[in-house]
Every structure is written in C-alpha cells, then in structure tokens.
C-alpha cells in the first residue's frame, strides 16, 4: 500500500532547528495562514479553495427523496470525501484511508452535527418528500491543511448554493426551474470554520496551517471548529504528544482569531462573486424571497 514519503533526517532536523528560531521554511509567521484564494464556477454551489499548494473543490447538489422514517421533518445532508491519487500518489482510489476517516469525522461534527445547515428547512412535504443535499469534496492537491481547506470549501459552497424554489399546494409539490423562479439560498444557521494547529517541542511550540512536511514532523495536532461569533463547535486533539492545558486554551484563543480571519475572507469572496453575477443590479428585485 502506498504511503506518503517521509522527509529525510536532514530535512526534519532542519525544520525543527528553524522552528526553534521561530522561522518557517516558507517564511511565514508561526500563526499565519498560507495565501488563501476562493473562486467559484459558473454553477451555483461550486467552491474552489486554494490554501498555498493545497486545493479543494466542493460541489453541492440536491435531489428529492423520501425522508428517513424516524426523522419525518428533516431533509438529508451528506458530505462525501474521497481522496484520490489526483491529490497525491499516496492516495488510492476506492479505498478508505485513516486520513479520510479522520477528515470525514471532523467535517461531520463541525458542519453537520453543529447544525450549520438547518435540515428542517430542506423538508418539502412532511414524511414524504425532502431535499437530499450532498456535498462532494474533491481534493485536487494536497500539501497539508486538508481539514481547514475542506471545511472552508464546503461551507463556502453551501453559502454559494441556490436550491430550486418549490411550493406545495394541496399536497402537490411543484419544483420550479431557474427560469420560472430564481433558486433560493440555503438556510444556514451559523458558519463554523476549522482551524488546525500543530505542536512541536513537547507542546511548547505550535503553528497554524502546517504544510505537509511540517505536519509530518509535528508531535500532534489540535483541530478547533468555531463560528465567527465565538462559539466553539469542536476541539479535537490527535497525534499523541502531551500538551499543557493552558497551551490548549491559548490555542483555542488563537484559533478564534483565525476563524474570524477566514470568515472574513469567505464573506469577501462571496460578495465579490455575487457582484459579478449581478450584472444589471436587478437581482434584488427579481428574487423570489421578496414576494413572501
């Protein structure tokens, strides 16, 4: 089974030596993210997030199905992550790796279980018809920071997505095509973002947004998911190394700052795209929501 190539003894020692002098190999500050670029396709609900050399593309799609019998009023929302050799030859297609399981668990908790998306709003006819929304996450390039990039990409895609408008009259469901009625945005309750920190020197030193090599040399990591309002949705520590409780608190605090930073970048990118689409400035008047 292929595995990611380990850095040599020399590289590892050099990286740690540099960290002792508070220098990162790419010249970033310890608490700085790599260059973040968020772009959108022509379709709604496709977000392409580039974080340095890491690149993740998420596509949201919707279909109508019957709800689960025990949750008659809730729509269905699934997130699929499949790591393919596209991102790194170490990934095998059609076979779930530990990294993939880890990734999907964190996304599950931070985005789905934190009720970022109101699944009740996806209900069309109670007990019979609901929207099944799926987020397909395609990792195109992998150089660390996978969790942060995937979470950001999925959330941006959700915020960008427009679901077809539908109405129910006397039990009959009508789904309108985009020509008949403008599709509507999803009901998102809050915007949680993941921030990963990696530890070095037995938890003494930490850094934000590690590259793959930094990740391979680190002793452990902590993932914090929170929304820009300051509500923490998830804290998870992995990798085995010991970390002092106070350092952990400090990390959460740093992560909060980063969450706001990423949130702003996301708002900016979405606003820019909305402007690009709204050529004649008419979208406000034409929007179906206004009628209600």
């Amino acid at each position: 089974m292929p595995r990611e190539a380990e850095p040599s003894i020399n590289d590892r020692a050099f990286l740690l030596q540099a960290l002792q002098e508070n220098i990162r190999l790419d010249g970033r500050a310890l608490d700085a993210y790599r260059h973040l670029d968020i772009s959108f396709g022509d379709d709604y609900g496709v977000a392409d997030v580039r974080l340095g050399k890491t690149r993740v593309l998420t596509r949201i799609s919707a279909s109508i199905t019957a709800p689960r019998p025990d949750r008659k009023f809730d729509g269905i929302f699934t997130i699929t992550t499949e790591l393919s050799p596209l991102a790194s030859p170490a990934f095998e297609s059609g076979r779930q790796s530990d990294l993939e399981t880890h990734l999907s668990r964190i996304l599950e908790t931070s985005l789905r279980r934190s009720q970022a998306l109101s699944t009740e709003s996806l209900c069309l006819v109670a007990g019979q018809k609901v929207w099944a929304l799926r987020a397909d996450i395609h990792v195109l390039d992998y150089d660390g920071g996978l969790i942060d990039a995937c979470c950001l990409s999925t959330l941006t895609a959700l915020r960008h997505y427009r679901i077809p408008d539908a109405s129910v009259k006397g039990g009959d469901l009508t789904v309108y095509t985009p020509v008949e009625r403008d599709p509507v945005p999803l009901a998102l309750l809050h915007h949680p973002v993941c921030v990963t920190l990696n530890f070095f020197e037995s938890g003494e030193k930490w850094l934000v947004d590690a590259t793959l090599m930094e990740q391979q040399c680190s002793e452990g990591e902590i993932v914090v998911a929170a929304n820009p309002q300051g509500e923490v949705c998830l804290v998870q520590k992995g990798g085995g190394g010991e970390v002092d409780a106070l350092v952990l608190l400090r990390c959460v605090e740093v992560a909060m700052g980063k969450v706001r930073e990423l949130g702003k970048a996301m708002d900016g990118a979405l606003a820019k795209d909305a402007k690009r689409r709204d050529k004649g400035g008419m979208s406000r008047e034409l929007r179906a929501e206004n009628e209600r």
Binding site: P2, E4, P7, N10, D11, I23, L25, P89, A90
Partner: protein, 244 residues
Amino acid sequence: MAAQTLVLPGEAIPSDILPIPSNPSLALKLGPGLRHVPPSTITSVLAGSLCIDQKKNSIWVENNSGRYIPQPNDLVLAIVHHSSTDWYHCAITPHTTLAQLPQLAFEGATKKTRPQLNSGSLIYARVLSASKHTDPELACCNPSTGKSEGMGELKGGMVFDVSLGMARRLLLARQREEGGLVVLEEIAEKVAFEVAVGRNGKVWVKSGGVKETLLVGRALQETDREGLGVEEQGRLVKKLLRGI
C-alpha cells in the same frame, strides 16, 4: 548555439534537418525524447523543443516536466529507506521501486568500516546502472578509483525541490555560459554555503545558519519557477540578501 523547433509526440523528424556528420562513418546520436523506427525514420516521443548539436552530431528533445527516470552516471540525492544484509535500499523519487546501494560502495569501506546509515539518511550517489528491466543501482564512490568524489552521506542542511530542467542546468560545467545561471555565484560572494545537486530535481544546501540556507534554497526555487534571466537573478539575490 543549437537550433530549436517544437515537436509533439509522434512527429517524424524530417531527414533534412538532421545534423550532417563531419565524417560519414560517425553515427548520429539520438538523445532523450527520440526513437528510431527502422529502417530510417526518427520520431519524437515527447513534447518539447528539438535541439541539434552539429558539432557533436547529436539530436535530442528538451523538456522540463515529469518524473525523473534514473540514467547511468547521473548524480542523485536519495533517501535510505531500509537496509538489508549487504544493501541499502534507497528512494530516488517517491513511489517508485527502490534503488540498491551496496553497503561497500563507499570510499574505503570494508566489512568492518562500512558506514552505518539509518532509514531516512540522505545520500549523494551516482547511478551505476539503470535499465527499464532492472532496479537502479547506486554507488557512493567511483568504482574505478574507489574515491568518494564528494559522494556519500550528507549531514545537516536541507533539501529543496527544483524542476528537472533546473537540476540539469545546475549540473552543467559552465552554468553561466550554457545554463544562464548566476544565482549561486552571486550569493557565494556574500554567503558561504555548500550545495549538492541531484539530477532527480533535488538540491541539498548547507550553510552557517538557518536563514542563509533558506536564502539559497529560495533563490534557486524562485529562479526556477519564474524562469529568471541573468539580470533578474542578480536583482533577486540582492533583494534576498537585504533580508538578513
């Protein structure tokens, strides 16, 4: 200077542009990217620019992408993966079959004095033999003289990735004249450092401090990425030197 034209895979090279040998008995040398289809057709198998050297009576396709394929006599930077009784098994590029390095292929190595390399050690070695049917074999000394010639385990420092074309240029005997590279010379005027260039697109750099090592590595990577010319390299080095 060699003449250049773009070729795509599968194109037949017209016989009138082939170099004319000074002596009719001299065989035409086909470099990388070309193949001979009997009886007398030469076709390209890669995309790149076709280079012709009239003096050496040789012709080849130059390009700068893809994965490194070991060729005999190339100098490479490899990482020891594991060792067995008589061999070190080394990775030249990730996810390919490991190359074999005899434990006695070091300068002055005997059964008792051979170097002990752990997995993850970095070595500078020459490809002794490589063919498509066998695993490549490495050596850390010149087999005819037994001298190390700078090869062996590299201690300290850091490895930077560059493109295969850049590695090729760095290994030219006359970097400035043939490869248009002055970046290392320019830095060497101000900072002392050591480098070892592997044909597999890796450059090992070691200098007095972390900052200096990173400066050399970054200068090389940026020159490579942006395709900087001689003057631009000078400006880049000045800019980077100001940083420390």
